[in-house]
Amino acid sequence: MKKFNYFLAVLLGLSITYASAQTKKGSVLIKNATVITVTNGTLENSDVLVQDGIIKQVGQNISAPSGIETIDATGKYLMPGIIDAHSHVALDVVNEATSPIVAEVRMRDVVNPFEVGIYRALAGGVTISHAMHGSANVVGGQNVTLKHRWGSEDPADIIMQDAPRTIKFALGENPTRVHGRGRGIQPRTRMGVEAILRNGFNEALQYKKAWEDYNSASSEKGNTMVAPEYDERLQTLVDILDGKIIIHCHSYRADEIYMLINVARDFGITKLVFQHTNEGFKVAPEIAEYTMGASVFADWWAYKFEVYYSTAFNAAILQKNGAITSINSDSAELIRHLYHEAAKTQRYGGLTDDEALAMITMNPAKQLGISDKVGSIEVGKQGDLVIFEGHPLSVYAIPQKTFVDGVKYFDIETDEDDQRLRVSPTEMVEPIYMTQEDHRCMQGVELNFSDISQTLFNTNY
């Protein structure tokens, strides 16, 4: 018995070293593909070499260093891993809906690496998603950028640790419904939304000053200053004002988008991205001039009143006005075919291939502050790649293999059907879900029993 335990302990000891090791980095040489770099054109019959997770060479006739796997991609397309700038994948909680400002909550606290949605996104070529707090609050929680390292057990291993901090804001119907109409507190109107923002930032300025005063006085002898109250909510707003956090703001109507631009300008905030932004096309010049652009649906509209006056040409108008524009999913389903969603900018607005593909690679990378690391096939960038059968913008395209940091996490040929990482030991029959619960902005909120009327209204985004 003792001996048996000893061996087990040794085995476990090994797994400890493994678990505390760095996230997996792989090496691979992909040969003879049509390489869509996004930033430097499309290279026919070319090779891409990834070593230890980093793209080392892009060109022709690259030979594999010894021990590195070679994949022949003749007749296939290779593009950078797709980046979804708006997702709620792999989160155990989406909405802390209870206060108009919850800047202190961190989605990285509730990352769930076992959600099969990660694998399904990989099967659609998506390697990075921006897992966001919901849209119930004017200032929501801090989002987390995930790398889809499927199979990881430690949530920390799927978090893109070198991505900057981002935070969710939300304007319009959702926060006014949840707080104003649901709980009888501000904001109930778009006026109230602006007031919550301005009040919050002004309080944050006071908070910052209080701590600065305290810190400078505390070195003086005999001072009677005591430390102010600690408030991570205000501290996070201070960090936004100091340019340490990128705002990603759920927004629909042109007036509210314009309002936030004005608030941001008044407070000197420049790191601002609009999400959804269905009426962004109406204020495209302003978005282009003052912000980091907009991340939009390809064609969603009319699911709620504030998106009734939408157009599927939104992305094209924004793009042609010079705004950084990305196409996102906000959905467990759409995230699986963002390449197709991006192609809709060609039907609705005639964008070029590179413009369309940038909307799911380079542009979201810029909006997430990671464009120096991912978003295109360039030497020095991280080895996040997808091999497609067919041009990725073709409706008939099928993703074949998806790599994150040079490690293959999806392979259409060899993967098992059942990808669940965790199975309940007490499951009699596997649940069948007919109306799939998408990952949504209002996830959790609408199912609050006391908010059942909102369920009826079915306002999810």
Binding site: A97, V102, E104, G222, T224, S453, T455
Partner: protein, 564 residues
Amino acid sequence: MKKTLLKASVLGLLVFGWISENSLLAQSDPTGKKPITSTYAITNATVFSEPGKSGMKATVLIKDGVIQGVGSNLSLPIETKVIPGDSLFVYPGFIDGGSDAGITAPKDPERPKDFVSSNPPDEIAGITPWRSAVDQYSGDDNKVEDFRKAGFTVAQILPDGGMIAGKAAIVVFGSEYSNNVLKTNTALVSSFRGSRGMYPGTAVGVMAKFRDIYQNTKLTQQRGEKYQTVSGVSRPEMTPTYTAMMDVINGQVPVMYTAPSELEVRRAISLQKELGFKLILKGLDDYATVIDVIKEANVPVLISLEIPDDKAIKAQKEDVSEDVKQQYARVKEAYDNSIKQAAMLEAAGIPFAFTTSGTKAGDVMKSLKTMIENGLSEQAALAALTTNAASILGMSRVAGTIEKGKMANLVISTDLLFAEDSQIKHVVVDGYIFDYEIKPKKKASEEGDGTPAKVDGSWDYVTESPAGSSGGVFQISKDGSDYKGTITLDDPSGSGKINSDLKEVTVNGKSMSFSFDIAAGGMNITINVSGEVEGESYDGTMSVDQFGSFPFSATLNPTLIANK
């Protein structure tokens, strides 16, 4: 009725212990219950004095609640009452690392008039670190008796509550004449559970709020220190929360996080690493994959003394298609892995103890035996029940083994503890001896006799939904041979409460179901509730037309019945 009789018979069998002070002060006892001596010896029994030591034939002598000696040549004082132990097996009394036996949840405080859900008072938001389990504990609760009968002599009792429920305490399951409290303030009981409809409502809010409280307690302490030493400093505000958190930030009291799943284990450890408190993990159900993480963090663990039920495994059929077979195999694998977890902890060299919180006393032995069948050594199982628990609870000096000078806490069984038909005959707690009837083999379980459960009265109910919980009261009264009733619930179209009549209240044996309508968004929605009544509790499901189903539980409120 049956239950009461049974209880009485058990009580009747007790050999009553004694109370030292009382025995000195009160000489007469017209009840005839007073024991005649406080000195006992279990003679010539097979004694397992601590986990890992083999049993030896010996006599255990106890006096005034303390073990006086263990050996074969003890001289027994003249006043010794001898319990012949020739066919008996003696083990150290079990210690429960986290128990809710005897705990009654405190009433929810009234919401103040100016209540704002985004910034509720701590007490209403489930932040009550000043509460003590002792105030919620009653030693004469049936559950205490049940666990004592299962061999538990000492337990860390946990207060009921929200994200910070309060402080745990250690009690002995001893005589009804003593308050039995060994130690208070033993751990801060915390969970990731949010509050219903207010901040913090979810795990992510709870974690943020915990950080906030922790940091502000630190600052409050700093302010307090400065206030003591520098004149001219404004008086620091000492809220009950910060005051009660001081010994946590100072490392005197550990935080006991309820963390059933592997992800919650990781969350608790990451909070600990960030803030630096002492951590105990409690209530672990799924942890096979985080054993290395636990080991690295060097955190004490109280695993759940419960194994997953095997209904699903047993329901698997033979004649199914290939893909269903594959699904079955995965569930079976998950089940098999789950019951091996305790063995894996042992193999990893992590000393662990148990929490019975949420476990039925009657399932304790079954769980232990299943763990043992799946690789846990008997020695490690016993250690989890005794020495490890004593060490995690910081009471190794007085409990956990059978040694001279330790508390007289013993489990005396008819066979080797984990042998198939072994039964517990006596449990000695704090020197008191509790005797239990030894039954011939149990008959097949009794079926319910189909008589309708008693359901009339006022029930407090709670429903859980992904966004948190909601609740209120429903009343049921007899209406001829039928039932009628009303329910109050949160107004779906805004704030406040509304009433709705219950329809189709049906009671069939233990099952009760009813439905009611609410108007929301210009539509009428019918809500169906069905479930089982078990004594004064109701465990059911609420299904809301097309929107899904949610757990619905309720407890019968006895005072309101009495008022009727």
